[in-house]
Symmetry: C2
Subunit: 148 residues, 2 copies
Amino acid sequence: MKLISSLTLAGAAWLLAQPALAQFAKPDQAIEYRQGALYVMGQHFGRIGAMVNGKVPFDAAAAQENADLVVVLAKLPWAAFGPGTEGGKAKDEVWKNPAQFKEGNEKLTAATLKLAAAAKTGNLETLKVAFGDTAAACKSCHDNFRQK
Amino acid sequence: MKLISSLTLAGAAWLLAQPALAQFAKPDQAIEYRQGALYVMGQHFGRIGAMVNGKVPFDAAAAQENADLVVVLAKLPWAAFGPGTEGGKAKDEVWKNPAQFKEGNEKLTAATLKLAAAAKTGNLETLKVAFGDTAAACKSCHDNFRQK
């Protein structure tokens, strides 16, 4: 119980500790911001997906460009899940289990760095593996923290 | 008239010529994407505005971080104004005057590069000037191409 409490506190502290990026005048702005950032990220991630799934021809430069954008965008949404910003598509679990949410966010940002590194190799098979790992990080968080 | 036509064609060609970033399965996705990118950009630009307008203390590192994000985000929305994506908050003028729209997009992206350079100086007065110029580029396009 003590462990859970301290993990929860650590997560809550992390949600509060992003001063440069956590300045929203109103909760609705935070919700629109995080949904916008996640949507734009999803589009660029999806363009890599279309390549690794063979729906569009593999274009190494485009994959790299999209992966670099995913890296930048993957850092943004989490600061917009601060206290008092419940709602949108988020489950209450975001605020009930902030340590788990933080862990999921960090797994994603780590996965996106590997995705960008894989894209830089120009090797489609390498990219496929990194894409799968990143997609798993997306899905894990969605399963736990996003409403169906 | 010939000049106008060729400018219009140049603008239309530009809207079509962004293959890496212009892949939207449905018009609604393009609209959600561009609105998301513009909203996230506006939030980060607004954080610099809060500093140059004295609403929050000047934090040079935060200003630089936000300006760098504005540079990245300012490149994104325009590919999502392709043919058949009319609607959202955009006026029909986007598609009627693509050359003028393109010119506005390019003015903004150029202004954001100067904004980031100004932020890197760490000088608030320098940043104020660049912020004002960037805000003017935003406003000019909004006046012409965004619904009230």
